[in-house]
């Protein structure tokens, strides 16, 4: 994994020292809030509903055990003993005190982490497939190029004041686990005639005006990628609307200008910029690539795994649901669910972080990932260690076998924490998970993604949930709107609004009706919710959601 150079370390130390002085000046009254706010946001410090919130970048979701342990230490020492993993592969601390934040940032820097560009109109933390480097279906590991983009975009002088924030995601596999089509730029690694290149999507995004990214270029060769990206951002920097915050994202620029015109402009820009790169980026990339070499795989027998799998049904359920195929024989990818039924999606206690760090260090080549679905991944696990890992996870309350199932819900912090929220998300997620656990239907229902956002900003990705839930404020009451048929994979689709919203007490029963309708309608247990929805359309699901209206129509 990538190690910071002395240059990176010096840069971070300087930034942290600057911020320490800025915090001191704010506290002693030399800086007003108007002056201080942009400075704290540049360092990932928000002021939320009940407290400050520090958002820490986890580039492309990759961590080692030392970093995870440091996050645990920070959670215990300066927060309330836990952290919240987000859909952007970041971690948020919900309760820091202003005067402690410089110390927290120094502690992060000790393990090469920071909170820079987790806010503001800059290029944000680059996200990637959480199975990167391990997935069986991968063409190439997306992390080296994600790291290259991180280095290029961090403190890039031309791009510190973009019209709006800018998010980039990369996948190296045809099965898109990084929701690339919902990003300002989505990169998909493709192979053509034995050469690796990038399909570049532009103008995807959720929020107020959800859009699926459009293909800007079908194949950009590796050596052209960075100048090409720079050209896209430069074109956006000039064209993007600064007059209206709601029209400032590149998706609107693409929509208003037209993808063909954007492509021409990017082409012109590229012709001018390409020469300046002179191959430096490629030398950097090959240096970076050396940090992402595959681990030294072991070749042990898998008998202990085979025996436990045969005799322990709980272990079997865990493996069948939470373990994915690894590209290396004898290895597996383990997804650790942060969605125990009734728990807050994405939260991990300091103790749980330490357990996962220890497991990674002891058994799994010292690597951890954070997924945009708010779970933690052990990407390189020898199968023979799975029984021991399972047992340790179980003791820590981390062995919930629900990955991809109805209780593996994405939920943004919503009005329990977020100052922008219009309704709560967390309690809705907790109730849905608890309800379906009580019904014992989860396994029978099969793959089903529910995603919940507490406002139109859609941090909870509700538009791409098979069932999306959007919390709104309707005349001073929490109200929840349902969208159906969304999909965040390579077949990305924006969900369709089902109809009028539901009150907080009615939303869980509504979801239950919806799921029962699916169970009645599916051709066979193999047909997933999304497949049934695609086959039948929205009508029968609407009828289940709004039985009174359906009856009136029939009368």
């Amino acid at each position: 994994m990538y190690r910071y150079t002395d240059f990176d370390a010096a840069f971070l130390a300087e930034r942290n020292a600057q911020f320490r002085a800025q915090v001191a000046r704010r506290i002693d009254g030399s800086l007003t809030e108007e002056e201080f706010k942009p400075l704290r946001l540049m360092n990932g410090l928000y002021l939320q509903l009940h407290a400050y919130m520090l958002r820490v970048a986890i580039p492309y979701g990759t961590l080692n055990s030392a970093q995870m342990r440091q996050l645990a230490m920070i959670a215990e020492r300066w927060d309330k003993g836990y952290g919240h993993f987000t859909t952007r592969q970041n971690i948020q601390f919900n309760w820091p005190k202003l005067a402690d934040v410089p110390d927290m940032l120094d502690a992060l820097a000790e393990v090469g982490m920071h909170a820079i560009q987790t806010s503001g109109n800059t290029i944000r933390n680059v996200t990637a497939d959480h199975f990167a480097g391990a997935a069986a279906d991968e063409i190439a590991d997306p992390r080296p190029v994600a790291e290259l983009i991180r280095q290029w975009s961090t403190d890039h002088p031309e791009f510190q004041f973009l019209p709006r924030k800018f998010k980039v995601a990369v996948t190296g596999a045809p099965n898109d686990r990084a929701v690339t089509a919902a990003h300002d730029i989505g990169l998909r690694i493709v192979a053509r005639d034995g050469q690796i290149g990038y399909r570049v999507l532009v103008g995807g995004g959720l929020g107020r005006t959800p859009m699926i990214g459009k293909v800007l270029a079908d194949f950009v060769p590796g050596e052209d990628l960075l100048p090409y990206l720079e050209s896209v951002v430069a074109v956006y920097n000039l064209l993007g609307r600064r007059d209206n915050k709601y029209k400032a994202r590149i998706k609107i620029t693409v929509h208003e200008t037209g993808i063909d015109e954007i492509r021409n402009m990017v082409g012109d820009e590229f012709a001018m910029r390409k020469a300046a790169f002179a191959g430096i980026d490629q030398r950097m990339l090959s240096e970076i690539e050396s940090h992402f070499a595959p681990p030294a795989y072991e070749t042990g027998g898998t008998e202990s795994f085979d025996i436990t799998y045969a005799i322990n049904p709980a272990f079997r359920a865990f493996v069948d649901t939470n373990v994915d195929k690894h590209r290396q024989e004898g290895y597996a990818i383990v997804s650790v669910s942060l969605k125990a039924h009734g728990a807050t999606p994405g939260d991990a206690t300091a103790e749980q972080m330490r357990v996962m760090a220890d497991l990674a260090e002891t058994y799994a080549h010292d690597e951890l990932r954070i997924s945009h679905e708010q779970n933690v991944i052990l990407p390189h696990v020898p199968r023979r260690h799975l029984p021991r890992i399972y047992a340790a996870l179980r003791r820590a309350g981390l062995a919930t076998a629900n990955i991809g199932l109805i209780s593996d819900i994405i939920a943004c912090p919503g009005m329990d924490y977020c100052a922008l929220a219009t309704a709560r998300s967390i309690p809705i997620a907790q109730e849905i998970a608890t309800r379906f656990e009580a019904l014992k239907l989860e396994q029978d229902i099969g793959p089903l993604k529910i995603k919940i956002s507490g406002c139109i900003n859609a941090c909870g990705h509700h538009h791409v949930g098979h069932i999306g839930i959007l919390g709104l404020d309707r005349a001073g009451v929490e109200n929840y709107q349902i969208t159906l048929g969304g999909d965040g994979t390579e077949e990305a689709t924006i969900g369709e609004r089902a109809g009028p919203g539901f009150g907080a007490e009615d939303i869980v029963p509504a979801i239950e009706r919806l799921v029962h309708a699916y169970l009645d309608l599916r051709d066979d247990p193999e047909e997933t919710f999304l497949q049934t929805y695609r086959r039948l359309g929205i009508a029968p699901f609407k009828a289940a959601l709004y039985p009174a209206e359906a009856k009136a129509d029939a009368a």
């Binding site: 007003t32 809030e33 002021l47 509903l49 009940h50 202003l98 005067a99 807050t344 329990d416 967390i426």
Partner: protein, 102 residues
């Protein structure tokens, strides 16, 4: 017709801790909504907000929030203010535990 003025409290977040605070009649910042000054007059509300804005070394982002007179003092009107006054619903963190120690 101008809309009738509804009672308000002055609220903000504390500069150092970031938690929710309310302005009292005797110019203190309190953590408890029930101790806040309930302002029934529009002109007075604007003045009190100005007072709060003059104390940038103590609080961030003061504003006027709707409130009603309750049995124990001012009570929230909008659910957002209810959450601000009590803390998050997923953990017993924030005011709901701190208030026990007051």
């Amino acid at each position: 017709m101008p809309r009738a003025f509804t009672p308000k409290v002055v609220t903000a977040n504390a500069l150092l801790e970031g938690d929710v605070v309310y302005l009292t009649e005797d110019d203190r910042w309190t953590r408890q909504l029930t101790e806040a000054e309930l302002i029934e007059d529009e002109a007075h509300a604007q003045l009190r907000l100005l007072d709060a804005e003059m104390r940038p070394g103590q609080v961030v982002g003061p504003y006027l929030a709707d409130a009603v007179a309750g049995p124990d003092g001012p009570a929230p009107v909008h659910f957002r203010e209810t959450f601000r006054a009590t803390g998050p619903s997923n953990y017993a963190h924030g005011k709901q535990v701190e208030s026990k120690n007051v």
